[in-house]
Symmetry: C2
Subunit: 337 residues, 2 copies
């Protein structure tokens, strides 16, 4: 069966369980912080924010912040606020993405923009971004502020790049990677890097945590892009084909297009470039992706970045947190089977 990111296979989920258990206390405080910081006298703000925040999601990014702080022996409280900041930055991005993509659904619920309008999604996203920065300021680490504010600009750059590449079948693997580094992996990287920063650890550990997060984020997005076509089993499940309908040029498409016959290229141009999509076209797209091994190869790329993420952790001492962070890599790449 095709898997949505919110319903991973049990064995994949298990990969994350150790990490979740290790930071459970901190995450309880993160969740309290998130709840209190969406509060506003303007009633629409918590309504819109909580519609999305309460709808689940694994909170992988704040978990990473807590775990990397713990990995570095951090004993203060700053990681909780930075983790909540990271989740707010992510939530703001989702709200704005829905407007950009004109999405109707998000995390299996109707998108906030459908329920409250594009206006509310834009403005509540801005509010959450502001609250994220306020919390960072409260923590008081200029270095962490620098990392996370830089991430905010890189995320926006990645999203604009994606916009520029949309419907452009000439997009190559390097251009695709630049997009996902920006729109997804940069926040994973920043979420991880602030752990050793808070703990006052040497630069080498900042860089290692950052590299772990960056590679994990790339692997995560690659698998997401595979899951959008139903995983490597390529069976049709719900939520399958959103990227196809939006003309997003993800790696499976890049690979399949490069290997396509002239007739197949015509199919991709009609559907992705010109947006003329008929009832049977998603099925045809899945056939073509299978024929050229595009989904399997994208998963193989994810394994490559996953291996780099694991290698980045080598400089940290062995222990339960490091083991659990490795488990998170397994979780991210195993979702697509």
């Amino acid at each position: 069966m095709a898997l949505s990111i919110e319903n991973p296979k049990p064995e994949a989920e298990a990969g994350l369980n150790d990490l979740v258990a290790l930071v459970a206390d901190g995450m309880a405080r993160v969740n309290t912080t998130i709840l209190s910081r969406t509060g506003s006298d303007v009633a629409m703000i918590p309504e819109v924010a909580n519609h999305l925040i309460a709808s689940g999601g694994k909170r992988l990014r704040p978990i990473l912040t807590l775990a990397c702080a713990k990995l570095c022996g951090y004993a203060g409280e700053g990681d909780v606020k930075l983790a909540a900041s990271v989740e707010f930055m992510h939530t703001a991005t989702l709200l704005h993405d829905d407007v950009v993509d004109e999405s109707d659904m998000r995390r299996g619920r109707v998108a906030a923009r459908i329920k409250w309008g594009n206006e509310a999604s834009v403005l509540v996203g801005d509010f959450l971004l502001g609250q994220a920065f306020r919390m960072m300021v409260e923590v008081g680490s200029l270095r962490a502020l620098d990392i996370l504010s830089a991430a905010a600009t890189v995320i926006a750059e990645g999203e604009v790049m994606q916009l520029t590449n949309a419907k452009n079948l000439e997009t190559d693997e390097a251009a695709y990677l630049a997009v996902i580094r920006g729109k997804t992996a940069e926040l994973f990287a920043a979420a991880c890097e602030v752990g050793p920063v808070l703990a006052g650890r040497p630069e080498a550990e900042h860089a290692a945590a950052r590299a772990y997060g960056m590679n994990l984020g790339i692997a995560f997005q690659l698998i997401d892009d595979v899951l959008d076509y139903g995983g490597t089993s390529a069976e049709l499940g719900k939520n399958v084909g959103d990227d196809f309908r939006e003309g997003k040029i993800t790696l499976p498409i890049v690979l399949a297009y490069r290997r396509a016959s002239e007739g197949e290229r015509g199919f991709w141009r009609r559907t992705l470039q010109q947006g003329e999509i008929g009832e049977d076209d998603l099925g045809t797209a899945l056939d073509l992706l299978q024929r050229h091994g595009a989904l399997e190869e994208t998963v193989a790329r994810a394994h490559h970045y996953g291996a780099q993420a694991r290698a980045a952790l080598d400089i940290f001492p062995d222990g339960p947190v490091k083991t659990a962070l490795n488990g998170a890599v397994d979780f991210c790449v195993a979702r697509a089977r």
Copy 2:
């Protein structure tokens, strides 16, 4: 003739000239900073950002930051980056506002969202917000970061409040004031407050600069709302009636509706609440605003806040900067005549 904010009467403009001259050197560096910080390898970002940034606007907010720093004897370079940050926050708000209001025009040019789409306006706004925070972090004042990040959330709250009040004729003066304090005056206040903060001046001066900016911002927005109906001369000029067509409940409307006959209330309900606006309706609206003195009274309110802005400056020593800041008050309120 009715005046647009970009074409103030010569005598009103004169009120600002002294201030502009006093901070001209700093503003040249602010403009260089703005130009370099909109740079990105993603070509669409500087295109969209500069479309709006290069289209003029008086850069009143960054001027206020430089002037308040100068008023407090600040001799460093941090004010330039904070001033550029303030302008980026403002520009991001305008880009997002255009999406929220579905505006076609901005500063006499076609709005970025029309030229590049809503997506680009949302994302480039996010990019500029990120860059604003990066510059603040570079300046390194946690206090200034706190003030400006808090302002970011308050601005978003004000905008959401405005959204909530839209088309609601029961909005009263207090609710209207809460909206413009948030969406406009808070950034004026923060722009001013960071001056004495950078200069390391006592708390009383932070509060005074903040009060000056807050009251100036309220006066500025009140006059803007009057100008949207063509100023107190109530002649039809270009760009007149945007608020009317969008169903925005500004103070002139609040006042006229309170004083309206039952028949007049029906007119306001049909046009502003139900959005049924015919060709002659703007003319009728102007007649009603005149009949009830709603525009004159809004200008009177602006004078009241202008007086409070001037009074807030009392604790600072007399001198050319203080005189010029008082001149800025004259400029803001004189625009409506």
